[in-house]
Amino acid sequence: MITVTINNKVLKAKEEQTILQIATDNGIYIPTLCHMDGIHDTYSCRICVVEVEGARTLIPSCASKATDGMVINTASDSVLSARRNIINLLLSNGEHNCLACEKSGECSLQKIAYELGIETPAFIMESMDKATVDDSSVMIVRDNRRCILCRRCVTACNDIACNDVLSVGFRGSETTIICDNNIAMGESTCVQCGQCVQACPVGALTNRKSIGKARSWETTHVRTTCAYCGVGCQLDLHMKGDEIVKVTGVEDALPNKGRLCVKGRYGYDFIYSGERLTSPLIKENGIFRKASWDEALDLVASKFKAIIEKDGPDAVGGISCARSINEDSYQMQKLFRAAFKSANIDHCARVCHAPTVAGLITSFGTGGMTNSIGEMANTNMLFVIGSNMTEAHPVAATFVKNGKRNGAKLIVVDPRRHRLADYADEFAQIKVGSDVAFLNGLMNVLITEDLYDKEFVENCCDNWDALKEKVLEYPPKRVSEISGVSEEQIIKIARMLAENKPGMAMYTLGITEHTCGTNNVMSVANLQMVLGNIGKENAGVNPLRGQNNVQGACDMGALPNVYHGYQQVTDPAAKAKFEKAWGVEGLPDKNGLMIPDMISGLKTKEVKGLYIFGENIVGTEPDISHVIECLEAAEFIVCNDIFETETTQYADVVLPAAAWSEDEGTFTNCERRVSLVRKVKDAPGLAMPNWWIFKQIAKRFGQNWEANSGQEIWDNEIAPLAPFFEGITFKKIQGDGIQWPCNCIESPGTQILHLDGNFTRGKGHLMALDWTPPAEVPDTEYPFTLSTGRRLYHYHTRTQTGRAQGLNELLPEEYADISVEDAERLGIEHNEMIIVKSRRGTVTVKAQVSDRIPEGLVWMAMHYFENNCNWLTGRATDTITKTPEYKACAVAIEKIS
């Protein structure tokens, strides 16, 4: 401890604290413009200068550590004079017109000028070149006339988001903030995450969408959880009345620490779309007509009753929604199990991370990310395989990039040289579908070079001999032939993994969406166990979940084999427990149908009634033609949704639902964190919360469910009925959410699973796995491999992002990415329309020629319906989880003659 005197007050402070920190801790105000505590300091604004006795000049309090006995004055005449002069200098150039400025009321410059009693600038600098407005970006307006060059935006772009677009250009009084090599922001590599806008203390960077919407003092802030992707970012919604006028990241909040991506920050306004469903719809003679809730619900109940009575409960199926709150999924599986007595409940984890849940339960005993997103910034090794994080999980990617900048090694394994590969120490461009072979190859080197963690393998894992035997069948030479990665690189990567510990493995759908998806997952688990990278901080196997609540929908039991909290439906004890809790009898005790079987079942008439909650399966399931055929064959389809979609067309009844922000509940992100989603407005028209809809249908099945809000459902049912969630209550997660397992009210939750090698299942299970090729490989007729995924600016089939202003402009159509080599060979120009066809369909799409794509690969997404990649994808699935092999099928490409 040291003693310092600030403004005649004697204060105790910790050593190594800056003067600014000590002052702030003690309620002494020192203004700053450029300071970003704990992130990065430029020390450039000089507004925070203070007078220190004995010092030759004024001292910047943000940069200077206090020393024992220091005597400081934060508001002496010389300090105030310097501040006044600096503020006058800042005001004297550019245009600081508070009347017109978005930032008025929360502008640091305005605030400090006010405090110093500066009414108008004392002088005008005439010799400065006039700054201009850069209006080229879709989401961000750069008004350089208001820029004070504090460089917080540069820090945000380079050190927080690590997008490296903004920098400082030129020198002296000509200094400006530049994008790339001084081109307009809209022309630059800017991905429009808006982190710079959030960091800007003045009105130089503003969100275009927010301009003119509200003055800062008219808004209230509501903290909530983002509606996109599995990172689960914490947002501050700036509300004027019931309108969201702006979104910012909640500073210091977990998991995102204030960071957001373009969708999270700007994709909010779909909820105000005029296309929202506002009334229940009933299809009559092929045309929808509006109906009352009673009429619609009665019809749904009676139809399902009829089917169940006639064909049994197995003839109905339900697909829950991974974008809606946990409470909705819980209610839906409860409806199916308790009211319909049907086991057929599933959701879209089937098409993405079901192999993760199955694989990790087999290997470790728990099917979730073992560690946490924040650890990515602190680890020594980042092993990213099959994950295009910068586009699919942009905020998680920022932590990976932070980690790399903090000294970790980054290894990227992917068929595509995606953006993250640019940051990598090693980029292994593997052939599509060769993951198991590649991972076996790495373990082969670790074992043959004696680089593996013997102690961990011996003490904490089983089946070592079988794994070893299998892995030894995969020497680098063989693996190189299968994966296309050179032997040298395989050896190099293996050694790098062994040398840099602890290390985290990250993967996404590049691992799971294969016929060998579950094996891929277990193979990643094998690698991390062999390295001893499990049960420690900054380590683990870390799947990044796709949809915002796909973890939650799994957790809530919207799966055919488990109740919520992964309690097996085949376990009689679980059955008894839920029968008692729900006050019902005859809960189904077998595993139900998975989505592909439900859909196909419509055609074979095994399934007659399908309840689709919030999913646009026509766009998202493989082989669209097949899906349509099946839906057309259905007897009765009901959809809950917020918009009409390609899927609702096939429904008999469409029920209008409350959207994100129109209902209170919880999302669970991929690191198992249960966070609150708050309500800021009512649903439009007659739209109602989904849990309410399910409750009303249950009522028509004679069940009176008591819970009457998200909170009541969670606190009274979900938490008490599952040990994983027992300690989580709405009250406890008002701030940062809690990571399950959290089995008692005192527990802070679990950041790291399987701590110290104590696996949930006892010992970690090393699976001996063989490589198997994709189901459909290129041949002479279809010589290309098609791999699919998503792009930054859209989310799935654009039901949300397509209705958020600006995102369509950022990505206005679908592309097929092809390699430079193939384009040259086929004479295809960049942006030329081409035909891509497979055994299942044909689409016409714009070619995007890219050196990020290897020869022989075509890469597409599913955002736009007409040229959706799923017209082409096949129905081959993972043998265990029936997850489709979206990542590989054979296609041909043709020039349009």
Partner: protein, 598 residues
């Protein structure tokens, strides 16, 4: 090895090179062969002698005869007369010196008499491109002594005891700096030589690098041994091509002799260094900016502390020393700290090199003991002010410094006395100004410089310097008001107090210093709309003095804008129309009767 009876040293410094010294060497080669003297007389290209105004300069040994402003066509005569017949070519001797035997010799001329060449000891004596010549004058002996006879702490003590202070401007005790770095426990440390000599009008460091590059290399190796560093960078301005070339030759030669590299002089000590070129940013002379630049980034200064000796290049302990500082090290090592401390004043030991320029006869490079007075520099060494004009002020320290007015001409020059006068030692630029120099204009000139060279990182410097320049501009245009002076002073003080680095902290010095000594000149600009020095164009009014006008009409004939009317025929005195006059000064220059005043 061949012994020559005579050595002709031709200055290969920048000034003389620019003034054709290379062609002179070629002419000598040719003439010596023609006279069959090639085996008797040796031509040596050497470093700067200092008297740049009089270049190209050659010196002929063993007599030490110095010839000035030598032209290619003079070479034949020098060979014929001096080298062949032993007769002086008196027209090429310095004008003031008489051709008395001995008096024309280099060390006896008035220019050199009061000088004491320590840092410049080898400049103009050896061929900088031959390591053997450096070794001949005890080169690398100090390194040998350090490595074989001394412990690092003993070296540091020697440097501390010598009282050597940083010659780059700050004046921080060199030994103390080394001690900080030596005490840091770190595997990797660095030595940097700051050769980014950026002050306009200063070229001391360049002359050392051009004339005696090995002294810097040797000193860096000694410093490396003393603090425990094994790698060094020399950061040189790209504008110094000759210096860069000679440094590179010197480094290569030192490596070839094993005086750089692994196991130097078989002592196991390892030291290597490389040159890094600046790219035209004055601020990179600031030590933290220099390091940032070596790291490959924008040369923006960092906050201190941490000081470079603790966290410098790539966060490793780093010592930065200026070229001249380093050039002193080997001599101190050989002759001892007491010898060095015997020169100079109580707090400023040794000598200091100055680049003397501006309105002075002997423009050039001088090295004087600390404590020499400004008067001695200007009149005894510098030969006084040209054209009989009056000395007005001397500016030291470049854009960071200030002016010493004529009233303080007897001040002994050392670190403290200059600070007291509101000037500073700086790196050693000394610009002499006479009565025709406007002090407001000079302040504006320096502010324009700092506006251009401010890195733009911190607000006070980025905007404040420009604001001050604007105000000065206003004043020089006669548009100032009296309250501007207080505002200017106030702003200057705040910028000094709140800027991030030394550039900003010292940028207001030219203003504060001129305001201190020449406030009346500022006031004259504002109140009387007059520039007393007759230099600020906007304030000039050209008028014909009727009584003196001879009605020759030359002024009207030469006026580019036809602003002058009168009649030659009718002998009517001419008149200048002030509205048309563009103040081009042509009439003033052309008038044969000095009848035009401004």
């Amino acid at each position: 090895m061949q012994l020559f009876r005579s050595h002709v040293l031709v200055c290969g410094g920048t000034n003389c090179t620019f003034a054709n010294s290379e062609k002179i060497i070629a002419a000598f080669d040719k003439n010596l062969v023609e006279n069959k003297l090639e085996n008797e007389v040796k031509i040596v290209q050497t470093g700067c002698f200092g008297l740049c105004e009089e270049g190209p300069i050659i010196v002929i040994y063993p007599e030490g005869t110095m010839y000035f402003k030598v032209d290619v066509k003079d070479v034949q005569e020098i060979v014929q007369e001096h080298l062949l017949k032993g007769r002086l070519v008196s027209r090429l001797l310095q004008q003031s010196s008489e051709a008395v035997e001995g008096e024309y010799a280099i060390e006896k001329s008035s220019f050199f008499k009061k000088q004491m060449r320590v840092a410049l000891r080898n400049c103009g004596v050896i061929n900088p491109e031959l390591i053997d010549e450096y070794i001949a004058f005890d080169g690398y002996k100090a390194l040998g002594k350090a490595l074989t006879e001394m412990k690092p702490m003993e070296i540091i003590k020697t440097i501390k005891d010598s009282g050597l202070r940083g010659r780059g401007g700050g004046g921080f005790p060199t030994g103390t700096k080394w001690e900080f770095a030596a005490k840091q426990d770190n595997e990797q440390k660095y030595i940097c030589c700051n050769a980014d000599e950026g002050d306009p009008g200063a070229f001391m460091d360049r002359s050392v690098l051009e004339g005696d590059p090995h002294s810097v290399i040797e000193a860096m190796a000694i410093a490396g041994y003393a603090i425990g560093a094994n790698y060094g960078f020399i950061y040189v301005r790209a504008e110094y091509p000759i210096a860069v070339k000679r440094l590179q030759i010197a480094i290569d030669q030192a490596k070839a002799y094993g005086l750089l590299g692994d196991n130097i002089l078989d002592t196991g000590f390892k030291f290597d260094l490389e040159i890094r070129l600046g790219a035209g940013a004055f601020v990179c002379g600031e030590e933290t900016a220099l390091m940032t630049s070596i790291e490959g980034k924008r040369g923006e200064p960092r906050v201190r502390p941490p000081f470079p000796a603790v966290k410098g290049l790539w966060q490793k302990p780093t010592i930065l020393n200026n070229v001249e500082t380093l050039a002193n090290i080997p001599v101190i090592m050989l002759k001892g700290s007491e010898w060095f401390a015997s020169m100079g004043t109580e707090k400023s030991k040794g000598t200091k090199v100055f680049a003397v320029g501006g309105k002075i006869n002997n423009t050039g490079l001088i090295e004087i003991p600390m404590g020499t007075t400004l008067r001695e520099v200007i009149y005894d060494i510098g030969g006084g002010i040209p054209d009989g004009k009056k000395f007005k002020a001397a500016q030291t320290g470049g854009p960071s410094g200030g002016c010493i007015p004529a009233s303080h001409i007897d001040t002994p020059i050392d670190y403290e006395s200059l600070i007291e006068l509101g000037a500073m030692m700086g790196s050693g630029g000394l610009i002499v100004m006479d009565e025709d120099t406007c002090m407001v204009d000079i302040a504006k000139f320096f502010l324009e410089f700092t506006v251009d060279e401010s890195c733009g990182k911190c607000n006070p410097c980025r905007l404040g310097t420009r604001r001050m320049m604007e105000m000065l501009d206003k004043i020089t245009k006669g548009k100032g008001v009296m309250s501007d002076l207080d505002e200017l002073e106030n702003l200057a003080k705040d910028i000094k107090a709140s800027s991030l680095c030394a550039l900003g902290q010292t940028a207001p010095n030219p203003i504060l210093s001129t305001l201190r000594y020449f406030r009346d000149e500022y006031e004259a600009h504002i109140r009387d709309h007059k520039c007393p020095a007759g230099s600020c164009k906007a304030l000039l009014a050209y008028e014909v003095i009727e009584e003196k006008c001879v009605s020759c009409g030359l002024c009207a004939k030469n006026c580019p804008v036809n602003a002058i009317t009168g009649s030659k025929k009718e002998k009517i005195p001419f008149v200048i129309d002030q509205d048309i006059c563009i103040k081009c000064n042509v009439c003033f220059e052309k008038c044969p009767a000095e009848a035009i005043k401004k």
